[in-house]
């Protein structure tokens, strides 16, 4: 990795950590779920980007949002794979993170899975019945981001740990 790429990776990693801090503040202040998810999506995206820069160089990283779904599970595999075999991390964690990573990727308004998933954490959208849906009023049923959900706790811990490795 060039020194410049290292700076870029560090920059994205540090911003990801900051995004997670803001997410925690939103949780504490009981902000609507869309805002908590928005900062989770941004943190995941930036942490993933740090790893892509490390692998490709900053200039070669495609300018799109569509990489969380592949990169986060790779990060999970790499980080969990290093742990002692006697640790309790098994296959279900990586599978669950894979599923959540796909949902988090779709929170970006620019990504709608070929127009089948217009729900996003930022802007109102029109659903299949012609209703205008508003993120702050939407339940986002596919992601439980409460602290009681084991997967979200694992995921946030992973994003933070991954970002810290480049910060």
């Amino acid at each position: 990795m060039t020194a410049k790429d290292r700076q870029w990776a560090r920059g994205f990693a540090r911003q990801a950590i900051s995004d997670l801090r803001v997410r925690e503040q939103l949780v504490d202040s009981k902000a609507e779920k869309c805002h908590r998810l928005h900062f989770l999506q941004m943190a995941a995206e930036k942490a993933s980007k740090a790893f892509l820069i490390a692998g490709n160089g900053h200039e070669n990283v495609k300018n799109s949002h569509a990489y969380i779904a592949t990169t986060l599970p790779m990060i999970a595999r790499a980080f969990y794979g290093k742990l002692n075999p006697k640790s309790e991390i098994g296959g279900w964690q990586v599978q669950a993170i894979r599923r959540y990573a796909g949902e988090i990727q779709l929170l970006a308004p620019a990504l709608n899975n070929g127009d089948t998933r217009r729900d996003n954490s930022e802007y109102p959208w029109e659903d299949a019945q012609g209703n205008v849906c508003v993120p702050c009023e939407y339940s986002f049923p596919n992601i439980d981001d409460r602290d009681q959900d084991r997967v979200i706790v694992l995921l946030i811990r992973l994003i933070r740990q991954a970002a810290e490795s480049y910060s």
């Binding site: 790893f51 892509l52 599970p73 999970a76 790499a78 794979g81 290093k82 296959g91 599978q95």
Partner: protein
């Protein structure tokens, strides 16, 4: 004093760990050659994963992590089983680089 593991030993250890934690991982190849003389030159692995999105060759880079027995940085390239079938002549091309798909470290 414990001897530092070679890059090949580390690559095998990484592959074993990845297999242990990801049931979707079906095979791991070393990307060759390995430069044992430069500790900053990453270990490179090709990982074939069921159900991954097909984005072509998009390496992901990881730092060394001596606290967990990984003394060298690493790069993982993940592709689907279908993409694996189409890799021609054992070469991976992206940007202006060409890598050689080497020994298979593990398979399911």
């Amino acid at each position: 004093m414990t001897m530092r593991k070679t890059k090949l030993e580390t690559a095998k250890s990484l592959a074993e760990g990845h297999f242990r934690v990801d049931p979707n991982l079906v095979r791991v190849h070393l990307i060759e050659p390995i430069d044992q003389t430069d500790p900053d030159d990453p270990i490179r692995l090709l990982e074939v994963v069921k159900g991954t999105f097909e984005r072509g060759i998009e390496p992901v880079g990881f730092t060394a992590d001596p606290a967990h027995g990984v003394e060298y940085p690493s790069i993982i390239v993940e592709i689907s089983p279908e993409e694996y079938k189409t890799v021609s002549q054992g070469k991976l091309h992206f940007a202006n680089r060409e890598w050689t798909i080497g020994a298979e470290l593990a398979a399911r």
